[in-house]
Symmetry: C2
Subunit: 142 residues, 2 copies
Amino acid sequence: MRLEPQYKKLLNNALEGSGQRATKQREHIFALLLEKRDHPTADEVYARARADMPTISLATVYNCLETLVETKLIRQVNFEREPTRYCPNLTQHAHFYCRESGEIVDIELSDQLVDELMKVLPKGFSAQHIDIAYDGKCNCCS
Amino acid sequence: MRLEPQYKKLLNNALEGSGQRATKQREHIFALLLEKRDHPTADEVYARARADMPTISLATVYNCLETLVETKLIRQVNFEREPTRYCPNLTQHAHFYCRESGEIVDIELSDQLVDELMKVLPKGFSAQHIDIAYDGKCNCCS
DNA sequence: ACAAAAATTAGAATTATTCCAATTATGGCT
DNA sequence: AGCCATAATTGGAATAATTCTAATTTTTGT
Ligand SMILES: [Mn+2]
Ligand SMILES: [Mn+2]
Ligand SMILES: [Zn+2]
Ligand SMILES: [Zn+2]
């Protein structure tokens, strides 16, 4: 697993921009998130990370994920009280949680739809972010 | 604090419908949620409940809230990993979380908008529920 | 290479929630 | 009303995701 130069640059810029250092661990975790573009929990990230970097600690996994979220290179995704998941897809999208398989699927959202959602806010309200979570049955399970 | 007859009937029907019993505690908690229609955490519900029923336990508060959610008399609301909140507003609505004040405000949603959100799902996906959470600054704080 | 600052690490601490086993309350039936 | 079976409540222990802490290691600029 190797971080492509374009993403390496992205990572370095983002870190530098927020006064943080580039480390093996941060690079490794960013790379593994980009490799399999799903929505792993911290524990799953930890398991994947150890495959190539057996000495990394769970605390570091949490730290790295936090850094990546802060620098907006990945997103955090929560469903109810389940463990937080991490998403490397930075395009505007919602999440669909399949109750059958547990799978989480990205749902693309048009600017127009997001605009409409913003417009229903009462006067004086301004949102930086809208979180949209569907839950039901995905195509594979119906 | 007294549960109005209409709501008492609603509660009893819902409980009966799912083979559960009517208890003082369940009624009390339903009543206090209806009285102040905000979005308290279990701890806050516990605090309010003890004002009139000092012997109620936190476990019971959790149990009652779970029962009310199961019977669809209230909704659960989650923001990130914060403690779960409970909402007695059963109309179709989203939640706006103010980062400044911590306040949670209901945002009404038209059927039409929800319809549009359903329509963006890929073929084969069916959602039972959409959870929409805004976060930003509310009118009071801007 | 050196020093200062930041990151990593292992393990302890925290905290919301769930579980457990004992006690008490409810509702149907006589 | 009294009895019984069943369900609910209770206090405290257990759980689990995440955060904190203090020691060690790594990075970066000089
Ligand atoms: Mn995603
Ligand atoms: Mn609400
Ligand atoms: Zn599925
Ligand atoms: Zn506000």
